[in-house]
Amino acid sequence: MFRKKNTAGVNSDEIRAILDEKKTKMKLSLKACAHCSFCAESCFLFMGHNKDPKYMPSYKFLNSVGVLYKKKGNVDKLELGEMRDLVWERCVLCTRCYCPIGIDIPDMLALGRRICRSQGVYPQYDKE
């Protein structure tokens, strides 16, 4: 919590501009999430990783896009790296996630990916 932020290499204004584009929809969706975890079984990665709660769609978007909105885009490279692992390692954007409330989860994760990409953070398929 008291880790010193290293804001080098991250353009928070750029992140905020992208966050602002979809602010209404994203913030409403984040607010409407009832934290019920009913989305879990619809994710094949959750089912395939022994029902590890870190693969739940709600966990994924709350800890990527949710964190970005909460911090208003003021994230550092380390946090973006954690987000990179979350939105690329734990999700393939197959868009089959179910939400009883109807939240568009794939869109949120796609926004998370877009923000990471805008800061030069992307998956490295040629590294093991």
Partner: protein, 258 residues
Amino acid sequence: MALSHIFSWTFMYDFIRGPMVWISFIIFFCGVVFQVRRFMFLLKEQPVKKLEPGPGKFISRQTASHFAMDRGKTRWFKKGWFKKGPDKKDPDKKDWIVWFTVSIAGVKPFMTMVTTIFHVLLIGVPVFVLGHNILLDNAFGISMVSLPENVSDLLTGVVIVCILIFFFRRLFLDRVKIITGYEDYVFLSLAAAPFVTGYLAYHQVFSNYKLLISLHILSGELMLMAIPFTKFIHMIYMIIVRFNVAGEYSFGNARKSW
């Protein structure tokens, strides 16, 4: 100053029972209308393009097969192949069973049942309980049909049990705990408060009826006011999105998109 002392202030008691009720309902309705307008503004109708038979529209269908055993059935190069639409059969029982099995009710039957009962009663009990209808009748001369008091008592107990299930689930199940924040516990308590205080007040469990009934009214008002501005908005969000936005899980003729 003790809580009971504060609530026995005539002004406080009258304020909660009087103007505050109006204020909370007004905030509730205005807030909900505001949020609904925000949602609907974001949604746009997307026309669905219907495919008509015509040249260059090969629709890959399983019925056309080249295996010897399928010879004789309609082949893709024969005339009239396009004219036949898919067999518009009435959905039969097997389809419903399959749909049900893969839906959330099939995947998590117990929780689906608990949450459905909870939400139905959450709205149903306050609307149909006798006490509220007497008040409405006194105030406006109109009222809904009322439940017998022992039934509404039992249903309040059911709601409280459901809330306890939610509470323990949030406390002990890893998958829910990991996404839970303090606000989840706060709002769960806020949802429970009207029912618990109502039950305690009705049964006159504590000697200070006035205190309990004031808490009951106040908690109801707080909950109403909290609906448009907190996660309780999922009540409206769900109806709008599931019935309007086109997607795999949408109901009915959902045609709009974000």
